[in-house]
Symmetry: C2
Subunit: 214 residues, 2 copies
């Protein structure tokens, strides 16, 4: 009996990808609660989505459900984690140990999902040498050497906007392949580097929705 279809990550739309973590969280909780199977309808109820949307989304992970029953919880968790590539370790650095940066260092949930923040970097001598939530802060001068030595593929950027593009370029030069950009600046990828992905995280857009629609 087949449990999984082959998956094609490029076939998944961005809205679908963005919903998957919420599904995973619910299914993990269901496992803790002792559920062996879970239906798309249940997940949809929990998230106030349409069941058909949940089924369509889950299909991209390659999971095969059982009509009348739903999905086997263990298999669904595995399918989601595998699709998201959250079942392997992503070596990352965080640059900019300010308010937001240190908050992210303390966000233990990321680690459960394969995000291994190995070190933080800053220019502030008061911060350098300290550890925040078990993660050491180094001088930004050591960034290049660290990234190259430790096969770092991901970087979290929480620096002031005026230095963001420079840091970004350096990270790309050193081999970083994906950058999670929390600065307010839209970063440009150097020409011809289509192997690099930058994801912008923008808190003010959520506030805008709240403010306009309220």
């Amino acid at each position: 009996m087949k449990k999984f279809r082959t998956i094609d990550r490029r076939a998944a739309s961005t809205p679908t990808i963005r919903r998957l973590p919420a599904y995973l969280q619910i299914v993990r909780q269901a496992e803790l609660d002792g559920f062996v199977v879970i239906s798309g309808t249940m997940i949809a109820d929990e998230l106030e989505l349409e069941p058909i949307q949940v089924r369509k989304d889950l299909a991209v992970t390659g999971i095969i459900g059982k009509p009348r029953v739903g999905y086997i919880v263990k298999d669904l968790i595995a399918a989601l984690e595998n699709f998201l590539r959250w079942d392997c370790t992503h070596n990352a650095v965080l640059v900019g140990a300010g308010h937001l940066g240190t908050a992210l260092l303390g966000h233990t949930e990321f680690r459960k999902n394969g995000l291994n923040i190995m070190a933080a970097f800053d220019t502030d001598t008061n911060k350098i040498g300290n550890t925040f939530h078990g993660i050491a802060v180094y001088s930004i001068d050591e960034l290049e050497a660290f990234v190259q030595k430790n096969a770092v593929t991901m970087a979290i950027l929480t620096v002031p906007p005026h230095v963001a593009q420079d840091i970004c370029n350096r990270l790309i030069n050193d081999g970083v392949k994906s950058i999670w950009n929390f600065t307010s600046l839209k970063l440009k990828v150097p020409d011809g580097r289509s192997d690099v992905l930058i994801q912008k995280e923008d808190l003010s857009s959520g506030y805008a929705v709240l403010s306009v629609r309220a």
Copy 2:
């Protein structure tokens, strides 16, 4: 000469609303740089968007541009701020002064956009009585009284997920109209309270996109 059209906030799509803060940021910077006019094409270049998308988006704010020239910077800032309701004060409380909560308290940009975080609330006696970035932390027992007394309309939720729904219900009861939900739990609005808006902010969805597409 007409400068503004009438605006209809319900006519604006959510993707459009989410892009407006980025436009505002660029136009504000243009003002600092001494520009008197700015074209949609310039804004599009900066954000790597299509000019037609920028023009369509800006149209919802009621701004009227000049063919061949662009938009008058001062007017465009006013139109964006007005449309976003960022030109008036939104009295808010923050509940849950943990890592993320205190980082948000330190995010001074929000204040420039009308978000007035008047106080923070927590259960941790080590935090109660302290101030973070000028904002006092009170016992969560004082939440109700504070919200009612100070005409608080907005709440930022950075509490652990297992208490989130309870706090949410209490806030709604006390008159809060919009809730910015940073917890991992999807909050339910009590039946019949369609006057309340909850905006979920989900960091893991950005990480998912980065991880899948990289």
